[in-house]
């Protein structure tokens, strides 16, 4: 069974159905979108069940010739890392649709268009993680920008057009650098036994260190912008502030993961030597991201910007875990990608509900919500706790693994990064205090608590956060073989206990 193609076609089919619906019937469009995303989720879970977790090769492989004269294939396949991320994306999609039921109103275009864009985006989210042909990956990587651009620019708030353009330009610049590297790889593959874009073939290329470093940078900067790593981050707060909460969830939760996923799949696999060369620099950037993002989050006055900055901090952790080159760091980073998707989703969705009720996204406009809307306040609090990596919630496992994994090889980086957890307490508790605690701010007395739809949307997210906090083993068992495979491919082994030199 061609699972991956099926997964990619399902949302497109849904989009086609929606486009056939009458424009006036907005409810039908929403229901169709929800149904489609649920079907995709079910299909993904069905596929995941068949995944062999101890097999580190690509699975569910499909390959068809696309443009034979350039050796370009439509080639799909997943390893554990991609599987986990696809799973996350397809679970988040119905949550986003359900949570943002009324998000599309007041957009520049129709409600129908909104859901068509979302579904097209879902297809691309699956494709970008599943592509094993570098060219196909690049095409989807760039094509993803289009629906997001329209989602931000057409349905966002505030300076949405500017934010959308900023997002687009940033991403395009990165993509351009990557394209240059991809073309160089293609040319070199021609000189070394046949033009190809196949990632497995490309990883066998021999090249001198200068070439490798330059090509690595092309890829890495593209992914660093996507991720985003300091100092390529300034597009994210603007985009997150302007986008609808649902879009932000997909943007931060899924699209940004393409960056960190790409670092593992492309940077490390294609350029192992260059990765080692740049590791010190990247680790420094990651640590700066962690601390810098945290400080900016503390200073943020807009709740959506705040969440965006926390994500910058979290992506610093993920990047650090990836480049720490230990199995703990690596597994932690991959798990972090999964967990971050849900904890950010929870934060953004609840923040979105708060904002839509209050009509303002400034933190200072809230206050005393715990008395007025206890359920909403609690979900926000829980999401915040997950964001600050409270033990017992999912983010803790991943964050701690990253820290421990980094510490064994790069203690100084890990120590500085650990200060991030104190800052995390500040950047979560300050908005919690301002928005949820204290006397009820005038104008907030009559805010409505979460309705059933919203509770249904957030419940699975919270459940995943809590369950994975206590019992991450099922996921870790899938991730571990892949993570250690990458580490051993790179020629690293975990540092043995030193006994402090005794």
């Amino acid at each position: 069974m061609k699972w991956l193609t099926l997964l990619m076609l399902l949302p497109l089919a849904g989009a086609a159905i929606i486009s056939a619906l009458p424009k006036a019937n907005e409810k039908a469009a929403k229901q169709a979108a929800l149904g489609t995303t649920l079907a995709v989720m079910a299909a993904t879970i069905a596929m995941a069940v068949g995944f062999q977790r101890d097999n580190v090769d690509l699975q569910f492989v499909e390959k068809y010739s696309w443009i034979p004269s350039f050796g370009i294939n439509y080639a799909l396949g997943v390893d554990a890392i991609a599987l986990v991320l696809i799973l996350m994306s397809t679970i988040l999609a119905p949550v986003v649709v359900l949570a943002g039921w009324n998000e599309a109103h007041g957009g520049r275009w129709s409600v129908k268009t909104f859901y068509i864009l979302i579904l097209i985006l879902e297809t691309m989210m699956i494709g970008v993680f599943a592509a094993t042909d570098v060219f196909l990956f690049y095409v989807i990587f760039e094509a993803m920008l289009v629906p997001v651009y329209f989602l931000i620019g057409g349905y966002g708030t505030g300076a949405r057009s500017a934010a959308a353009v900023k997002f687009l330009i940033y991403s395009l610049v990165g993509g351009l650098l990557m394209l240059a590297s991809i073309i160089a790889l293609y040319v070199m593959s021609g000189a070394q036994g046949g033009h190809t874009f196949d990632i497995n073939e490309l990883s066998k290329l021999t090249m001198n260190s200068t070439t490798q470093n330059l090509l690595f940078l092309g890829f890495f900067i593209a992914f660093a912008i996507k991720a985003p790593v300091w100092p390529f981050h300034t597009w994210l707060p603007d985009a997150a502030q302007s986008a609808t909460p649902g879009t932000s969830v997909l943007l931060l939760g899924v699209l940004d993961k393409v960056g960190t996923f790409g670092m593992i799949r492309y940077c490390l696999t294609l350029f192992p030597e260059a990765s080692k060369t740049f590791t010190p620099l990247i680790l420094v950037l990651a640590v700066i991201s962690i601390i810098y993002g945290a400080f900016l989050a503390i200073g943020a006055k807009d709740i959506k910007r705040l969440i965006a900055y926390t994500s910058i901090s979290h992506f610093g952790f993920i990047t650090m875990g990836i480049f720490a080159m230990t199995s703990q760091g690596h597994s932690g980073a991959i798990l972090y990608m999964f967990n971050h998707g849900f904890s950010t989703a929870a934060l953004f969705l609840v923040a979105g509900w708060m904002i839509s009720r209050r009509g303002s996204s400034t933190i200072a406009d809230f206050g005393g919500l715990q008395r007025v809307t206890p359920v909403m306040a609690w979900t926000f609090f829980l999401a915040g706790m997950s964001s600050l990596a409270l033990p017992g919630l999912s983010s803790f496992v991943s964050e701690f693994l990253v820290l421990v994994g980094t510490f064994t090889r790069y203690p100084v980086h890990a120590i500085i990064a650990t200060f991030g957890i104190v800052l995390a307490a500040l950047y979560i508790l300050i908005p919690v205090q301002k928005a949820l605690h204290g006397p009820t701010t005038p104008g907030n007395e009559n805010l409505k608590d979460l309705n059933l739809r919203e509770k249904l949307a957030i419940a699975p997210v919270i459940a995943i956060i809590v369950i994975l906090g206590f019992y991450p083993a099922p996921l870790l068992k899938v991730i571990n073989p892949a993570a250690s495979h990458v580490i051993s491919q790179m020629g690293f082994t975990d540092p043995a206990p030193t006994n402090g030199g005794k």
Partner: protein, 629 residues
């Protein structure tokens, strides 16, 4: 080590209570508090049952463990969710569930007028569960979960009345300062894993012999940081006073009897680390000694009864930390003081709560006075706790505190003399400020307004106080009779032979009692002989002023961390906007500018296009010319 399947119930019962009450919401309002109390009590029952089983086994067979499920397994980092119940944990289990249950009972009445009582009980249950996980976890990482769990519960409970901004700030402050400590624990775990490859207690205990002192010292210091954060020890002590914003039962349970003693548990539990790292041990002692004096001095100046008691807690935990830092000889005494302190301080806090209950939640002791007549039971239980903390024989504090003073002196050399003197002086100051609390609250003339109608609390409140008072009286004697606790804990700690006795116990007791007597006498002279002012007098010595401001701890934190932090944040926000985003926007501006400059060329006049073509031709010919030359 034998295994058991029933340890999990200790934690699961209160945890289920918390979940039920929080998820059940208003539906459980009517019976939620009863359920919570019952679950806490049943957890205590399980604890007692485990104790009885443990008593029936030999020393070596006493620790039992339970593996719950696979938690984190990555590479050689393997941590299971596992519980360990040994002689040390059982003491804590019983203290937590026992005192916890009493405070549940007390709170039924104390919180009866609060329409969020159910939520309060949910938090209390959550706290009990987290605290039990803390003491039952079989590895540092499991402990860490409980460690942050109690931090969360503490945050929620301090901020229970968070509609008052000051209370919300206090809870945030507590959480953040605790997080600094948690960071220390994180470091300790990382060091343990990097150097020993394991984070379980048994694994680290085994590996500690093979590990360099430097690594162990590092780990020890980090553990101390963690302990300082949780136990409000110097330099992370500032949150405890503010934490009194929470309802009084919370102060009694969390900020007197149990959570704040977690640091002592951590250090005692990590005895194998500290025994091999003398430098870290010395630091523990120093921190303990400083905090001991710090708390005592703050206690002398506080007019808020709860803050005075909080300062006293800080000081008493200083005693415990100091004892724990003295190595194998001190661990058992630290635990003993911890247990007796749990009784008498919880009792006194509940007493304070009872007083507040009768005085319209007034906390200023200058507005009390002569309450003895109006609340006799409260006076009696508080008084017994008072005698216990002073260390008057045969009350509990006499046994535990004197042991610590004695051990401090026996540390030998200059260190012994300094530590001994500090503990002695601390005892004297303790006597002074506790007597001050007694006098201001219960004796003298009435100083309250006419609106206050002091009255005795209902039986649901005084019953737990009475039980705790009995504990304050008897626990010391029972625990030290025949060195019961010392022998009980003996198998857990390494012993390096008998310590020499520099001062006879009777001499130490004499000295201590003398100091106490002096303290009491000064307090009497100062507060009983003369009229107490309604408002704190302004013309006081500079030391009093500093002590009233908690020895400048908040000012220090503000000046050194908060203000620079805020400035840094503001700078970074501005920098991000101006420099990093500015650079990006600069690129955009340049592109736009050059675009509009070039647009001037596209003026629509065919002739200017022709001119451009001509210029292009010139360039082409010039290029050819250059090539040809």
């Amino acid at each position: 080590m034998s295994t058991s399947n029933s340890l999990v119930y200790l934690i699961a019962l209160p945890l289920a209570g918390a979940a039920l009450l929080l998820l059940g919401r208003r539906r459980t309002d009517k019976w939620g508090h009863l359920l919570a109390t019952a679950l806490s009590a049943s957890s205590f029952g399980v604890g007692l049952y485990q104790l009885s089983l443990m008593l029936g086994r030999s020393d070596e067979a006493r620790p039992i463990s339970q593996k719950l499920f696979e938690w984190i397994h990555v590479g050689n980092f393997n941590v299971d969710a596992g519980l360990l119940l040994d002689q040390l944990s059982i003491c804590f289990v019983l203290l937590i569930t026992g005192v916890g249950t009493l405070i549940h009972i007390y709170s039924i009445s104390y919180m009866s007028h609060d329409h969020d009582r159910r939520r309060f009980f949910a938090y209390l249950n959550l706290f009990i569960a987290a605290m039990l996980l803390l003491v039952l976890g079989n590895s540092y990482l499991n402990l860490y979960v409980g460690w942050e769990g109690v931090g969360l519960a503490s945050y929620l409970l301090i901020g229970f009345w968070n509609q008052k901004p000051a209370y919300a700030t206090a809870s945030k402050k507590a959480f953040v300062m605790n997080r600094v400590g948690d960071m220390g624990l994180s470091f300790a775990i990382m060091i343990a894993f990097a150097t020993m490859g394991t984070v379980s207690f048994s694994g680290v205990a085994e590996q500690a012999h093979h590990t360099s002192e430097a690594a162990l010292t590092g780990m020890g210091i980090m553990l101390l940081v963690a302990a300082a954060g949780k136990s409000a020890q110097f330099p992370l002590q500032a949150w405890l006073g503010d934490a009194m914003a929470g309802p009084t039962p919370v102060s009694a349970l969390i900020h007197a009897a149990t959570m704040v003693t977690a640091g002592v548990y951590l250090i005692t539990r990590s005895n194998f680390v500290f025994d091999a790292a003398p430098t870290a041990q010395l630091l523990v002692v120093i921190v303990g000694a400083i905090t001991l004096m710090f708390g005592a001095l703050i206690g002398t100046a506080k007019d808020d009864i709860k803050k005075a008691l909080a300062a006293s807690t800080m000081s008493q935990i200083g005693y415990m930390i100091l004892a724990a830092g003295l190595g194998p000889v001190g661990y058992a005494f630290a635990i003993m003081h911890l247990l007796t302190h749990g009784f008498f301080k919880a009792g006194m806090f509940l007493g304070a709560g009872s007083v507040m209950h009768g005085m319209n939640d007034e906390v200023n002791m200058r507005k009390y006075g002569a309450l003895r007549k109006f609340m006799p039971i409260t006076f009696a239980t508080f008084g017994l706790g008072y005698l216990a903390i002073l260390g008057v024989p045969p009350f509990a504090g006499f046994y535990s505190k004197d042991m610590i003073i004695e051990t401090a002196f026996n540390a030998g050399g200059v260190k012994g003399i300094i530590l001994g003197s500090v503990t002695l002086l601390g005892a004297g100051i303790t006597a002074f400020y506790m007597t001050r609390v007694m006098i201001l609250t219960f004796t003298g003339t009435k100083r309250w307004d006419d609106e206050a109608h002091p009255h005795e609390s209902p039986w649901l409140m005084w019953l737990p106080m009475a039980i705790l008072a009995i504990g304050s009286v008897a626990s010391g004697f029972l625990l030290s009779r025949g060195d019961a606790l010392v022998n009980w804990l003996h198998p857990l700690f390494a012993h390096h032979g008998e310590h020499e006795e520099l001062l006879k116990p009777i001499v130490v007791s004499g000295l201590a009692l003398t100091m106490v007597a002096i303290g009491v006498a000064i307090a009497f002279a100062k507060y009983s002989r003369q009229e107490v002012a309604h408002v704190a007098p302004e013309n006081v010595s500079v030391f009093t002023k500093i002590a009233r401001q908690d020895l400048m701890q908040d000012r220090f934190n503000e000046a050194v961390f908060m203000r620079p932090g805020q400035a840094l944040t503001a700078t970074l926000v501005a920098t991000d906007e101006a420099v990093i985003d500015g650079a990006v926007r600069g690129v955009g501006t340049i592109a736009l500018g050059s675009g509009s400059a070039l647009r001037g060329l596209q003026n629509g006049f065919v002739r200017s296009y022709a001119a451009l073509i001509l210029i292009g031709a010139v360039a082409l010919v010039a290029a050819i010319w250059v090539v040809v030359q």
